[in-house]
């Protein structure tokens, strides 16, 4: 059963969200979804880029002005 885990990176500057995402994904199983909450515009670029390069499925949603949620499905 795939689970969904939320990772709170609000207020964290680059590269902290990326490193936290990396560590959190390691602990998840295939098919699990990690929801990363960020409000740093640069993390919006490098976290999805890194995750897509790793082959994960990534979806970005702007939930509020300057706040995003990244849905990363581990592959």
């Amino acid at each position: 059963m795939a689970k969904e885990v939320t990772l709170d990176c609000m207020g964290e500057a680059c590269p902290v969200p990326l490193i936290k995402t990396e560590k959190a994904l390691e602990k998840l199983e295939k098919g699990d979804v990690l929801v990363v909450q960020i409000d740093h515009s640069c993390a919006m670029k490098n976290v999805p880029e890194w995750a897509r390069k790793q082959g994960h499925n990534v979806e970005i949603e702007e939930v509020d002005d300057g706040e995003w949620e990244l849905f990363i499905e581990k592959v």
Binding site: C14, Q37, D39, W50
Partner: protein
């Protein structure tokens, strides 16, 4: 595994209860009018001020929209193996080299004093040590000078702290610069490439170095992606 060690919290996903975003267009329009208004006012205040105002704002917009980041260009190759920003910065350097050479050559060809020659700074160990320290600082602060300014403008308040100490450091540096210059910097050589290789040679030398670094960045990025 506790939430403390994983950094994973149970903060509920916001997407489910999506709230309506405020329409920012009226603010954008008012701001645009203000920018144009100030530009018109500046043309009466002094030469070039309006030009500086517009280029400054254009620079900020490009920096923000493109996520152009000098910190990421040096950090990401280690951290993620991504060299896309590195290559973007190198292209910017190449364009800048050509532009500056053209401007400087234009003045030199007419026998006029070349502008900006005071920025041909002496190269000493101070350059390398200072650059190294700056590198550590900018990775911890999450941005270099332009990046920090841009993100504070975006409303990312944690970096206002970085901005504050950036100002403190700059003031201290400016205050003590005379001492450093007398004791460490002034004896070092000043090298202006066109003096050594000629105008075209200097430019080609610059572009060749950039091309080599670009090639290394490209290879590095490819290798790192294949490893994953």
């Amino acid at each position: 595994m506790s939430a403390e060690t994983t950094g994973i919290t149970s903060r509920p996903s916001q997407a489910r209860r999506k709230k309506k975003k405020k329409n920012q267009l009226p603010v954008a329009f008012a701001l645009l009018l203000a920018v144009v208004g100030v530009a018109i006012w500046l043309t009466f205040v002094g030469d070039n001020l309006a030009l500086f105002w517009i280029t400054g704002i254009a620079f900020g917009i490009i920096l923000q929209r493109s996520r152009f980041c000098f910190t990421a260009c040096l950090r990401d190759p280690y951290l993620t193996g991504s060299t896309s920003v590195t290559k973007a910065v190198l292209i910017a350097f190449a364009v800048t080299s050509i532009g500056f050479t053209a401007i400087k050559y234009g003045f030199a060809a007419q026998g006029l004093p070349i502008p900006g020659q005071s920025y041909v700074a002496p190269i000493s160990a101070a350059t390398a040590i200072g650059a190294f320290m700056f590198g550590i600082g900018m990775v911890i602060a999450g941005g270099c000078a332009s990046g920090t300014l841009m993100r504070v403008g975006e409303g990312f308040w944690m970096q206002a702290l970085a901005l504050f100490f950036f100002v403190v450091g700059s003031l201290l540096g400016a205050h003590n610069y005379g001492w450093w210059e007398r004791n460490f910097i002034v004896s070092a050589p000043r090298i202006f490439l066109p003096d050594v290789f000629g105008w075209l040679g200097g430019l080609l030398c610059n572009l060749a170095i950039i091309a080599v670094v670009y090639w290394i960045a490209h290879k590095w990025g490819k290798r790192k992606t294949q490893e994953l």
